[in-house]
């Protein structure tokens, strides 16, 4: 498997976060063309549309199409908002873009805002990144501003492009795009009903597009090297590269940027294989919200949108969580359930109540206070959340439960029985 760097800097670049390094690698060439009036917004939009770029924030929505929902030639301001809230469990590549290649994001935001006719942009960065990623991004902003790449009336073309940083304060739900907009307005990050979609009424009621950090970081290379080049990197429907965050039971966890469509086996091998010489049991291939796949199925997959969805899961954020043969699936699912329970914003009853039930039922199973028939109840609670909520956090809480039970039901039954027997013995011993 070969690494291909579109969003990440080349590994040998020195202080790759500095403007000097970025420009030395050809950075800001495209944005300077725009500022010189040599490239118009329509060309940028059409190139991104033709490239087949899909959102890397989890849902894989076609980026160019999303931009085209923004009203044309409308009164300003309209907004572009970058989503650097990165909090999907298992996912940690936006942090590395901010730390190691902040200028590619700034140039990507500049080009994207220009393409959709927005003059003001914000980067919403999760509050926990205040130590390292935020200062790197702020320094890069200062450099770009001093170089005349951000501001008002830029270049011969006199373009306006403002970019402001924003730091969150700890809440997974602020990664959901309308929760994010609420938070940016200084409110609790409770998702909004859609429609209206942000392109009609977003930040402060103005037309707004929200894109993920990695999505925007792909844009400079696409405009510079062309739609065909980007497409040719991956299989049909999966253009370009992905920074795969490989974590869990592997020898060398890490962020590896490679073309979409690499085989799972190659990626696993690149990460050093399953640790301690153990066997592969299961993989969650796209962040904790996507369905789990057992070894036999994931071994046949390639890492792209179509292959993983045909296998019954999804590419999600490209965060691959690897589990070895000693992993207790009941404990893992309980930990995942705890997360959604803790992070539900509480607006919708099925999500607020259901996530708590899931967590408590799984706890009872591990503590020997459940019966095998409770598994049906667990599943029905999950089914009652799915599709009945304002935002997709509800679905994200249901999918792990459904998929863990689909593939590992026998292990759940066994665990319920053995925990029960163990609890009885303990009671007898203390009686």
């Amino acid at each position: 498997m070969d690494l291909v760097h579109v969003c990440m800097p080349p590994p040998d670049a020195e202080r790759p976060w500095r403007l000097e390094s970025y420009e030395g690698r050809g950075g800001y060439r495209v944005w300077r063309k725009v500022l010189a009036g040599e490239l118009d917004a329509g060309q940028v939009l059409e190139t991104v549309k033709a490239s087949g770029l899909r959102g890397r924030g989890g849902a894989g929505f076609p980026t160019g199409l999303k931009w085209s929902f923004m009203p044309r030639d409308c009164e300003q301001p309209t907004y572009l908002v970058c989503n650097s809230d990165e909090s999907e469990p298992g996912t940690c590549h936006d942090r590395d873009i901010l730390r190691y290649n902040p200028h590619v994001l700034i140039e990507g935001m500049a080009l994207s805002a220009f393409a959709m006719g927005a003059t003001v942009s914000y980067n919403y960065i999760r509050g926990e990144f205040l130590g390292e990623p935020v200062p790197r991004f702020l320094d890069a902003l200062d450099e770009a501003r001093a170089a005349g790449l951000i501001g008002r009336g830029l270049g011969a073309a006199g373009i306006d492009f403002e970019l402001h940083p924003f730091a969150g304060a700890g809440a997974y739900i602020c990664g959901e795009e309308t929760g994010l907009l609420e938070s940016l307005e200084g409110k609790p990050g409770k998702p909004r009903f859609k429609p209206p979609f942000p392109a009609q009424s977003g930040l402060y009621g103005r037309p707004t597009t929200v894109n993920n950090t990695q999505t925007l970081a792909c844009v400079p290379a696409i405009v510079e090297k062309g739609a065909e080049w980007f497409k040719s990197l991956g299989p049909p429907n999966s253009a370009g590269t992905m920074i795969y965050s490989v974590s869990g039971h592997v020898e060398r966890p890490g962020n590896y940027e490679a073309p979409l469509g690499v085989s799972f086996n190659d990626l696993l091998e690149h990460a050093g294989g399953v640790w301690k010489g153990r066997k592969l049991k299961a993989v969650i291939p796209g962040g904790s919200s996507v369905p789990v796949l057992p070894a036999a199925i994931i071994r046949e997959c390639t890492m792209d949108y179509d292959s993983l969805s045909e296998a019954g899961s999804a590419l999600g954020t490209g965060a691959m969580i690897v589990m070895d043969d000693r992993t207790c699936m009941v404990s893992v699912l309980r930990r995942i359930a705890r997360f959604y329970y803790a992070e539900s914003c509480g607006q919708c009853t099925p999500c607020r109540e259901g996530t708590g039930w899931l967590y408590r039922m799984l706890t009872r199973m591990l503590e020997g206070r459940a019966r095998v028939s409770d598994l049906d109840l667990l599943l029905s609670v999950a089914n009652n959340i799915e599709g009945h909520t304002i935002c997709a956090l509800g679905d994200a809480a249901a999918w792990p439960v459904q998929s863990f039970l689909k593939h590992f039901r026998g292990e759940f039954e066994e665990k319920i029985r053995s925990s029960r027997a163990f609890a009885r013995q303990r009671e007898a011993a203390y009686a």
Partner: protein
Amino acid sequence: MSGNSSLPDAARDAIRESAARFPSGRQRSAVLDALRLAQDGNGGWLSVELMDAVAEELALPPIQVYEVATFYSMFEVRPVGRHCVSVCTNISCWLRGGRELLKHLESRLGISAGESTVDGRIFLKEEEECLAACTGAPMMMVGHRYHENVTPDEADRIVERLR
């Protein structure tokens, strides 16, 4: 663990600077920054007086400030230890010993997650959710600083250094 009831001048200036990033009349957007500044200047927690001072500075009804302070996990509305220590126990960290790391620190410090040491030195946060450093699992955050691939021994040394 006592604190200030009013905002220092530096915080007031910073809040104004933050509010300038938003359109006029949208200064409510600066409330997260303002609360963070207030909390940082007050040993890591927000008193009602401080939240009221933020409300006044941004010309907001106090309830709009309270609801934000209680919604986000990085704000504390009761006194806590000076140094905030969080251990991620979400899935990638869980698989590589994050839970054991937290248990270790609990017994080492003699407190449970969610509590502060009696000398007011350390606040051990509730089990933390994913902090986006999953490839460096297990990890912990001290203040704003990330420590990755942490062993129990290293965790001991890290917390011992905190004064």
